[in-house]
Symmetry: C2
Subunit: 209 residues, 2 copies
DNA sequence: CGGTCATGCGTACGAGCGTACACATCCCGA
DNA sequence: TCGGGATGTGTACGCTCGTACGCATGACCG
């Protein structure tokens, strides 16, 4: 006997229009307990939010459900288990970041502009990157332990390099990509802020065959 | 009512020599339930082992206690709470790695030998680094979220740079250290193994003012 | 030798967890 | 109109967890 099981997630039942027939086609925007087409996507976003806040260590079905405003039972209905939810969530995260990365370099038209873009990327990203920094390191941690997450990081890195490829030769893209990673992490985990000039110098050196 | 609380951690009591007076000075090597001078250190080592195996996410007092062969009550006796245990454990880990790093470069006598040492470091470390890779990313994850861990990573990075400082000018040590970080992570999380020649080329470029 | 007190430990409690599963609800064909 | 199948949800069970705390133990002093 727990006597405590009825938690905030479920109970309430949000009366609203209990038996209302409602418009047959439904107004698309009005999601209800029963009709809620993009619930799955919302769960994924909520999961990423929760991970960013309390870490993979602190994630639970209940927290994610509460954040997504979804009944607890929905979690295991849409995702087999916690592992799958994490995997799917990080897939979406990696895709989002990689896409932005690609677009960032799409504006460059030559090697010099690409170099400038790299510097800008590192320093711009740092401004509001708390969430992304945390999610990135959480993903790396998972990847360090479980191979099934490693394919994810692997694909992500491949996309990053492909974005640099138009401007530099193949070996250089590898080196540059690794340098970006290192600068990014050190900048994020160091207390002294990075100097833009120093970053620019690093990029210049690594891209000068 | 749980009825399940008596878990493997405690019970047993390992009879051995229950009331034995033992040698007054104690044979140093024979730790007993009561006399166990380096218990604290053993708990820390056990904690790192457990973290490496199941991640910060999966760590618990009970698992660490079992691994260290220590009663559960000992955990909160020696450490105020889980957070402190993690902090102390990662302090030890960072110190261990940084010390090895310093010794690794102490053998070099000039810039060229230092460059070779860098390449060797990245490729040697990768061989048996599963444990260290995991612990490192776990630490970064913690540092990304909690400032009190960031001072730890920060000191670690400072020591690393100091180890490089005898061979390169100040800005270069920053760049080289970041490059090492990036190469290391990418090598670890990529599926294709890194090529030694490529690493050497990266080091050459970044250290050529 | 006997009493006292710091040290260290076993155990129980209450909370939070993942997940299974009976059941409510809705949709749709007849 | 009605019945049956599909879809989604509330809730309970069996666990593990961190931590508080009363008590056993052995050292030490008189």
């Amino acid at each position: 006997m727990d006597g405590m099981d009825a938690d905030a997630t479920s109970s309430g039942a949000t009366p609203g229009s209990p038996g209302s027939p409602g418009t047959p086609a439904a107004p698309a925007t009005a999601r209800s307990r029963r009709f809620d087409p993009d619930r799955r996507a919302r769960i994924i976003d909520a999961a990423l939010d929760v991970i960013a806040e309390v870490g993979v260590a602190g994630v639970s079905h209940r927290k994610v459900a509460a954040r997504a405003d979804v009944p607890l039972g929905s979690m295991t209905y849409h995702f087999d288990d916690m592992d799958q939810l994490l995997r799917v969530s990080f897939e979406k995260f990696a895709d989002t970041i990689a896409t932005r990365y690609e677009q960032w370099f799409r504006q460059a038209t030559n090697a010099d502009e690409a170099r400038a873009a790299v510097v800008g990327l590192i320093h711009a990203d740092l401004l509001d990157s708390q969430r992304e920094l945390v999610l990135t390191t959480e993903l790396y941690t998972l990847a360090a332990r479980k191979p099934e997450f490693r394919t994810l990081t692997c694909d992500w890195m491949a996309r990053s390099r492909r974005a640099l490829r138009p401007f530099f030769d193949e070996p250089t893209t590898h080196l540059l990509d690794a340098l970006i990673e290192g600068l990014f992490i050190h900048a994020a985990l160091d207390t002294t802020p990075p100097e833009r000039a120093r970053t620019a110098e690093a990029v210049r050196r690594i891209t000068s065959g």
